[in-house]
Symmetry: C2
Subunit: 272 residues, 2 copies
């Protein structure tokens, strides 16, 4: 079997249902068709989704998989009556936890209440702004406020990693490139001097770097394998000399890089 | 009861375990202490985590909650033997799905295999780069390649939303500010003319806007309530005139804004 429709139903954004549902589905050799139905927060909307699921079930001759993160009891009951195979992602874990904690759950919808007054949320936005302003060594202003400073050659993955650290974890991540002038001088960029302890390096295989750079500036010296080899070798030698921990981004996702950095640097201000 | 230690254990980054675990815990009036243990991919590391859990259980006199997303059977068994209350987030859903699909799961670790050769992943990085280059109306180059173009007054939430759309969904999101000169002229910024169909507006309550701007430039005309009122009123009138859909970011999280935009704009290139 190869195809199956999968519904992600939520009274919030459905991001949790979908992210987690995808991890589960990744355990199977199937190619599901995704149907997202966020903001299902009324009985009417629940009925409408059920009609849709039943229609798909009949059309495809296979019952759709339904991952749901709903808190509203009425809506829940309605969805449960559909012709799909329903997984109640909240209740499955909330019920045993009610026993464990010896308390009732509060049926709170979504992870976000009112963002305008949410301190944690505002910190996260501030971290994104900080990371944007300190992308690519743009500014040494307030660098003392950074939780972490990523360093590495151009196109080694610093920018996406900085943004991810800010967005997912509320971590203020600056990034500063290591460029040929730094290698000629033989020193770290001077703006980094006071912050060496917060620095974390990214490196990358020269072949992969050359590929990435060639997409940007095809045939340039900048993208040539020879130059990429030189820059990577120089950058690694510099980081080793300066005692900066680093990892290779070549075969790692942003998420894996970010998790490793947080595990090693352990900034105090981690947000959850 | 108020405190309880919660372990998030994964053979990957643990982001799924933690994001999902947080949604579950948000249903209870407790303030848990988070302990992240990513990359638990060997028997030795599993034993080490078990020792840690048991130590915490004894110290706190309450058994810790353990959310785990492990695929390795040996490691799984070891963690199950700990003194915590263990929730196996994968198996709970994978087992009934094995029955449903009539196939065995493949025990794949994590959502990311080798990113260097993963097309989807590279599209996501490309979307982040695109959104960075098209932040704040910086460039009208390649704007035809944008999936969505966010418009709105300065500090209405365009930048974080663009970056989130790129990072989470692989959507190329440009953003262009509406500034006093546009209001004087009475037209959308000319670069937007050919792309009106892809435009989506963000607006914000003038009071909240004034607060946000005052953090940046305290006491400025730019941040004054009077000016914020004027800009917001002008921007909304312009979007209404031009037939651009919009929403207010005041009480919404980035995630909620992004989900609404995707539901309404439905770009073809959504990545999962």
């Amino acid at each position: 079997m190869s195809d199956r429709s999968v519904f992600f139903i939520s009274d919030g954004t459905g991001i949790t249902a979908e992210t987690f549902g995808n991890s589960i589905l990744a355990q199977f050799a199937i190619k599901p068709r995704h149907v997202r139905r966020p903001f299902i927060d009324t009985v009417d909307k629940a009925h409408q989704v059920v009609r849709e699921i039943n229609h798909v079930a009949e059309r495809e001759g296979k019952r759709p998989i339904v991952f749901m993160t709903l808190v509203n009891e009425e809506a829940l009951e309605i969805i449960r009556g559909c012709q799909g195979k329903v997984f109640d992602m909240i209740k499955t874990f909330v019920e045993p936890l009610e026993t464990e904690f010896n308390m009732k759950s509060n049926h709170r919808v979504g992870r976000f209440s009112d963002v305008a007054v949410d301190r944690e949320y505002n910190d996260r936005i501030e971290a994104i702004n900080f990371s944007m302003e300190h992308d690519d060594g743009q500014s040494s202003r307030n660098l003392e406020m950074a939780d972490v400073v990523l360093v590495g050659v151009s196109r080694s993955g610093k920018t996406p990693t900085s943004l991810y650290l800010a967005m997912q974890h509320g971590v203020k991540a600056a990034n500063v490139p290591l460029i040929p002038e730094d290698f000629d001088r033989g020193f770290l960029p001077p703006m980094l001097k006071p912050f060496k302890k917060k620095c974390f390096g990214l490196t990358i295989e020269p072949h992969r770097l050359s590929e990435i750079r060639n997409e940007r500036r095809p045939g340039s010296k900048y993208a040539s394998l020879e130059n990429c080899r030189y820059e990577v070798q120089q950058a690694e030698a510099m980081m080793r000399r300066e005692g900066i921990a680093w990892l290779s981004s070549t075969h790692k996702s942003i998420e894996e890089i970010a998790t490793t950095i947080l595990r090693d640097v352990k900034p105090d201000r981690l947000i959850y």
